[in-house]
Subunit: 439 residues, 2 copies
Amino acid sequence: MNDPLKAEPLKIGVAGLGTVGAGVIKILKERAGFLADASGRTLVLGGVSARDRAKDRGIDIRDVRWFDDAREMAKADDLDVIVELIGGSEGVAREVVELALAHGKHVVTANKALIAHHGLALGRLAEEKGVSLNYEAAVAGGIPIIKALREGLAANEITSVVGILNGTCNYILTEMEKTGRDFTEVLADAQALGYAEADPSFDVGGIDAAHKLAILASLAFGVQIDFGGVHIEGIERVTATDISFAREFGYRIKLLGVARKTEAGIEQRVHPALVPDTVPLANVMGVFNAVAVEGDRVGQVVLEGRGAGEGPTASAVLSDLIDIARGFIVPPFIVPTARLAPSRESPADTHLGRYFLSLAAADRAGSMAAITRALADEGVSIERMIQRGAEKGATDRLPVVFITHETQEGTMQRALAQLMQHQDVAGTPLMLRVEGETR
Amino acid sequence: MNDPLKAEPLKIGVAGLGTVGAGVIKILKERAGFLADASGRTLVLGGVSARDRAKDRGIDIRDVRWFDDAREMAKADDLDVIVELIGGSEGVAREVVELALAHGKHVVTANKALIAHHGLALGRLAEEKGVSLNYEAAVAGGIPIIKALREGLAANEITSVVGILNGTCNYILTEMEKTGRDFTEVLADAQALGYAEADPSFDVGGIDAAHKLAILASLAFGVQIDFGGVHIEGIERVTATDISFAREFGYRIKLLGVARKTEAGIEQRVHPALVPDTVPLANVMGVFNAVAVEGDRVGQVVLEGRGAGEGPTASAVLSDLIDIARGFIVPPFIVPTARLAPSRESPADTHLGRYFLSLAAADRAGSMAAITRALADEGVSIERMIQRGAEKGATDRLPVVFITHETQEGTMQRALAQLMQHQDVAGTPLMLRVEGETR
């Protein structure tokens, strides 16, 4: 091993000094000796950039070169790596990463939106320049899932990746199950606790999970990232009643990201789904994330941990920095970007699976017969059904849920369209897929 | 990225052609193009050695250089890496690894016993020669736990590593729970199914898990491997009755490897333990392995997957080979071996935790009062207790189990010694630790 004192130090610039940036700088300082031992060279903070220089972040950066403009830092001759923690797929974040790579600097980023939208072009640029583009912190926080796919499981042909990729949604669904309260109430609490943003739409609408899923799908299947090809549904319409019905059937409702290789192409979906309570993902509670990878040689591997927050995200950034300090230039998407095939989208309506259907039936004689008849006419075969008495405040509506036998998505969509017009069905039924069952 | 066709191929020698060796050779052949793309150079099988050249292994090695003696292969000038799959901590396996390293070749091994006993010396030799000593396949099969500790979580100060590290034991305990049958019966079935060896003592006695735990503890805490410091108990004395009692209390019984950093030193223990059924490790069933790592920044990260078998183990070997082909020389134990402190053993009797105590009480008036009195006299405070009626075949004995409040191990050991002599206690009580509860 090299003597860290003799080797050239690795000079790091950090762009964006939120909690994660401050966390990275704390570890660089507090664990300097260990990091040097592990990397064979010292890791030195050589530059910082953020909006407000004067803000108290609990770190001492008085002796560190300050850049008012992170783009200037990305071009600085005396830095080897830029850590981009600004966020957003466009604007300054994107410019900083492009400039840094173009100037032959390694980049470490926690920016899932940037990688999901521009990962291919940025990866190509990194390859041309022979530098690293590392983004462990962009997906599932402290869980080393990018490393697992790029390195640990690289000998496998991956057939599916299924994950709980958004801690905010998992926290909300867990609380709804525990307390029986509904989505809007629990969301308000989550916002008060700092587990959800003031504008929660990226999280609860599934966009954030979709960014991460698109990245995982590219790594898993050796295809170009195709964020536009992700089918996205949020958790806004899931009710505490649905969750309790699902529990009666032996399932939990989770916001899942599902990427699967099928004969027709690549399926990429983010949506709430029923998961049998015996599988690992069903037991991932609160703000935790988890990813289940299915490989042809290794079988199923599941990684679970905290998906966000200062500590986990900083831990992932540092792991990327240690790799760079050690001289490991990992191909951004395992194989050269030129070898990544375009992602061929698998048509959604050919998906074969079981479905959960939750609706409000009119409280009149014959309504259930008419509804089940309508489903049968569309070719949907029902495996299990629960009907409850009317809930308070809606005495003319009876909550009903069905679990179907295996059905094609196209068939379900036609049945759903029928039910929406059906005289005995009030409002819009909720249709959820069942995932994670052994086939 | 390099053009794989222009770069020097990586020439690999495989020593030991059991199912894993054959699995490695299959992947090298079937996935040659992908491996070259991912590694930037081709991976070429340049030599093989095993006991019987003629044996049919489902692989075509007619064109590959054959070595009757693996030690000769370890010295061959035209090989870059030796994959050691012979097994055993001494003899040919050890000689092959030592010779290969001494001749400046990288080594990939699945040999947990070898690393547990000689990892420090071998790591030192690898460092001197500037080559890799990779052993992902030695611990938890296809789960990339070594990579997670050496790289993914390297910025963390690890406080504990707790794992289900032996698939045979986990299979047996799972079957005992499912069927209510006792250890010897289930073991015989496991042997018939190939899940347990003809001589099962390494597995069921906890030695195999202890090898793996000692390796994980060294990586987690930056100390020299100390296999001798692992306290080992097997699963032989756990009965189906104990498992069912534990379930009533809300626990599962698992053979755990526990490594924990305490103020007094490093605790290393392998033993059956009660795990609350809400934590991830409790839900790891059958032949699966799992490891829960607790880091100061990342919090808890859990990795789960298949711990053995041709596919998972070959997958791990290939991941090590890809790293070597990419030119990543990972320090064998993260920091240079010279910086690894000797492992200071934490005295077992200072361990503080809750305990499960299972015994057979004499069926006479006052026996329970006398037994609980004896526990109280030793300072053991009981939280919960179940007493059942006599079991068939032992009508004079009543099965009783206790869960204690937090108690020091030393106190429990004294209480246990008292109970073993107690007139109202038949046979030897079984004492198990409770692990994985939030403190």
